[in-house]
Amino acid sequence: MATSRDDFGIAIRSALLQRGAKQKFSLFALILASILIFTLDNLELKPVKVLRGVINDGVYRLSAISSSPISFASASKNFLSTHLNIYKENEELKKKIEVLEKDRFDTLYLQTENNKLQEVLELDKTTAYSTVGAKIMLDKNSPYLNSVIINKGSNVGIKLGMPVLSKGNLVGRTVEVNYISSRILLLNDLNSKIPAVISPSGEQAILSGIGQKNPTLEYLPDGFQNIDDLTVYTSGKDGVLFPGISIGKVINNEVDESRVKVKLFSDPNQILYVNVILDKSNDEEAK
């Protein structure tokens, strides 16, 4: 028994301390270095944060370059599959155009009616936002985080928590801002919680990511009716996101009835360019 314990001790000591052929550092020294770095990073000292920002910017650029062959292969695959499905897609698009034409007339009517009502109520007519366009540099899905890296950072005025749009729909918010790059936490990430309002019923809820493609609505009022054509918008209740940004449609044919899922208008896994909302424009800019 004592011999086997001795053998274990010798083998562990050898593994930890022996440097062997072509090893410049022992495992023990590197484990200590990792613990030290981890502690310094957790203390969140300003010099360490600045250093981390610089490292982030450098590594993200390098990562974008090294990922380009994989991205190219993936893009080529998508390009080919898109071309193979072009006939079917064309038929679907024709049908959609018909529906959209009808919707356009409805929208024009509603817009006119809305303007009239706003004039009556003297409401704030500001609807547009000051945004900054950015390109997705890295698309990292991992067991830990569903996020993307964009090529703009604090150099253009991006700050933490700013909403991010793709084709006018919310896709996430900024959770890490470096000088020339930022990380966007996508709506379907486990850590994403967005206060939302359901239209036309006006019920309030929290849109939560569950690590799957479609996020879910939580904290719905009792007796919530999952009927057709419910649209989800930001409610702006957190005071960070602006109200009225479109998010997606409630899915009402989902087999799992315990969860109310939302199909996002902009698929977070397909985005290439985004707009980060810096601020609301004033009335003049909105016009």
Binding site: Q18, L27, N42, S67, D139, K140
Partner: protein, 171 residues
Amino acid sequence: MAINVKGFKDSLLRSLPLIILIYVSISEFQTQFYYWKIFSFNLQFIIIYYWVLRDPSILGYGFIFLCGLVNDVVLSLNLGISPLSYLFVSLVAAYIRAATVRSTLISDWFTFVIAIMGGNFITFILIKNFSDVGVNYTDFFYNSLFTFILYPAFWSIFELYKRGISLRVYD
């Protein structure tokens, strides 16, 4: 000149596992192999475990540490989490190397479970206690499972590769 070219080729071939490890840590490799919402695997663990166990002269601990740091930056984890988990995998591999006389696929494969469990446990504990990042337990489990299942396939590839470079060196 011919000797130099051969020497360069040999050193390039011997560095290939390290190049792959750096590439996997820095690129979108993981994202591209994330299928059916469950399939993902940790290629870094496989590379580190195999090469530290079978030929430690190919993969230095210092490089493993650096790849861990890069991986933390890319995945937005607190710096030091991945190096600790990678170094734990290296520790298990180094211990198995020191404790066993002759290793086989089966012995390597089953001891790899300890490395995966320990490495992921370190990552999980540190994320849970020192970070705001939420972890999807199911994804974590599937990632570990597929890493374990795929080990023999990579073991065979690396074994063939190792034989290939050994033959070149003693040519």
